[in-house]
């Protein structure tokens, strides 16, 4: 009786959460993949068109621009990891007021990306924005970062890095506060210091923090929708689109709803993300087994 109850109990505890998660997350993934083989305007009949959406996608210049921007996002976002580490090392002291300073450094992460986007739009604004003025003073020419198809995506990435660095910093600060002091002291007695100490003693112990920092940064880079929408709407001339934004544009734009085509873009993005999710899960499985 007791044992039987213990067999049913976990499923009863799981039921409500799992039902919700299946309904809103797991099943929709399957539906999107299915939908990517249809032509659908969101209202009328769906028409099966096989691989056509994907074939069209591979001949679509806007798709390649978005993909290229995603790669740029992913690569440059990685700067958040060493950036966060550098700030964490700088702030890992016990001076008066340091706790407040740490919180204020972390602060950009707490704000909505919408607000971050607006702040940086102001920062970049031609003629009066602080950054525009600074560049003007430095080079003698004004640059309208977000209105220039060469720079817009980098302007957005820089804005995104701001909260992302803050996030990595807090991960590293937590990691640093948990470093075994004995090892550090022992190494110090052996004359190990500075970069050598950082490389051989500190970084290996920061492994878990680095891992999480990389994971959240990859996810943050691939999710980058809010900033693009707020700062440029994918412009000028579609030069700052990323896959997440392009998908949204295709599926729900004013030019008509192309749900199937949008779904195909989403599937590609999902496939890219799955690579990283799998790496994460494999590592987690290894850890669970060792417990």
């Amino acid at each position: 009786m007791m044992l039987k109850r213990r067999k049913i109990a976990p499923w009863l505890f799981l039921a409500p959460g799992m039902a919700m998660f299946l309904l809103y997350v797991i099943i929709p993934i399957g539906q999107s993949i299915g939908l990517s083989f249809y032509d659908w305007d969101g209202l009328g009949e769906k028409t099966w068109i096989g691989w056509h959406n994907y074939i069209e996608l591979f001949g679509d210049d806007a798709f390649y621009v978005s993909l290229k921007n995603n790669v740029a996002f992913l690569t440059l976002y990685m700067l958040a990891v060493p950036g966060g580490l550098a700030i964490a090392l700088f702030l890992n002291q016990n001076v008066f007021g340091i706790r407040l300073v740490k919180s204020l450094f972390f602060f950009p992460f707490v704000m909505s990306q919408v607000v971050v986007g607006l702040m940086f739009s102001w920062f970049y604004a031609p003629n009066f924005g602080l950054f525009a003025r600074f560049i003007g003073w430095l080079t003698g020419t004004q640059v309208a970062v977000l209105a220039d198809s060469r720079f817009a995506i980098y302007g957005i990435i820089a804005a995104g890095l701001w909260p992302q660095i803050a996030y990595c910093m807090i991960l590293y600060l937590t990691g640093l506060s948990n470093i075994s002091p004995d090892q550090v002291e022992a190494a110090r007695l052996d004359g190990c210091k500075g970069p050598q100490m950082l490389w051989h003693i500190i970084l290996p112990q920061l492994g878990p923090a680095t891992f999480i920092a990389v994971v959240v940064t990859v996810i943050g880079a691939l999710r980058s929708f809010d900033l693009v929408s707020i700062m440029t709407n994918g412009g000028p001339y579609g030069s700052s689109r990323v896959l997440s934004y392009y998908m949204f544009e295709q599926a729900l734009s004013e030019y008509g709803y192309r749900m199937g085509y949008g779904a195909a873009i989403a599937v590609i993005l999902f496939a890219i993300m799955m690579v990283f999710i799998s790496i994460f899960l494999i590592r987690m499985i290894g850890r669970e087994r060792s417990v």
């Binding site: 505890f13 998660f21 937590t174 779904a263 999710i277 899960l281």
Partner: protein, 283 residues
């Protein structure tokens, strides 16, 4: 401790550090300070080109009153609360249950279900967009607070389950075993023994989910459209279009929209950071 405590360094280095600290902080926060100062500038300053000098006078009351009187921002903020608070409640409640199930019981499929929650938590929103929007429309919940809340609860349950399950795993298992020997029912074990111990995890998740959901912009755009349901992030986007280059108003609006999660962070800092850095210390 690494780097070496600064108190052990030469006095000159100590002074240099003390001076570098506020300067670096200032540089780091420039975009925010700029917005804060712009939000208390009179419109005349912007017209006259005084964008980042000292404001000619402080128009704090003027600007902040203007955004509340001439725009629906008060509605947007109220809507954000209407979406955020039930989501926090729902996601934390569901994940207490799922976390307990996955953390305490050993059964076939346990790890698989756990990984489903973890993986689902990382998928790009766009792969969910069309079906979720469709489902919301079909159930008559498009452009309603409930429609948005239900999705957020479901999605946040993924992250919350990961967190709760790991938290429960770290509790002493003997507690549960001895309760079982005493013949206490499974539900009572959950309710009377485990739940009280989960308070710190609940607090951490509540603050995190509050911030995540408050700051959500994508789903707000996909699932709502009217001013009676749109949260402040989506609202701010439309106001930005309306207030073209009235940067004093845009700034004031941004600050108002950012305030609740920022206040939450400063009040519950310890919990917030504990939640966010989960797993950053032990591998």
């Amino acid at each position: 401790m690494f780097p070496k405590p600064i108190e052990k360094a030469a006095p000159a280095t100590q002074w240099a550090y003390r001076i570098a600290l506020p300067i670096s902080l200032l540089l780091w926060l420039i975009p925010m300070i700029g917005i804060a100062i712009t939000s208390i500038r009179p419109a005349a300053d912007l017209a006259a080109g005084n964008y980042f000098g000292w404001p000619s006078r402080f128009a704090f009351r003027e600007n902040y009153t203007a955004i509340f009187e001439n725009s629906p921002i008060a509605y947007y903020i109220f809507n954000s609360f209407k979406v955020t608070l039930p989501t926090v409640l729902g996601a934390v409640a569901l994940s207490c249950l799922t976390g307990f199930a996955l953390g305490v019981y050993r059964f076939r499929g346990n790890l698989l279900i756990f990984f489903m929650f973890v993986a689902g938590n990382f998928v790009p929103f766009q792969i969910l967009m069309v079906p979720v929007r469709d489902l919301t429309i079909r159930t008559g919940l498009y452009d309603t607070t409930l429609g948005l809340v239900l999705f957020h609860i479901a999605f946040q349950t993924g992250f919350c389950t990961l967190f709760m399950r790991n938290f429960i795993r770290a509790l002493p298992y003997e507690l549960i075993e001895s309760a079982r020997i005493d013949g206490i029912s499974e539900w009572r074990i959950f309710w009377n023994i485990v739940l009280p111990l989960m308070r710190p995890a609940i607090a951490a998740l509540a603050v995190l989910v509050f911030t995540f959901v408050w700051n959500d912009y994508f789903w707000a755009t996909v699932l709502t459209q009217s001013k009676d349901t749109q949260p402040v992030t989506a609202g701010l986007y439309s106001l930005n279009g309306q207030w073209v280059s009235a940067w004093n108003l845009v700034s004031a609006g941004s600050i108002v929209a950012a305030l609740p999660p920022v206040a939450m962070f400063f009040l519950m800092q310890r919990h917030f950071i504990a939640g966010l850095t989960l797993g950053a210390t032990k591998g």
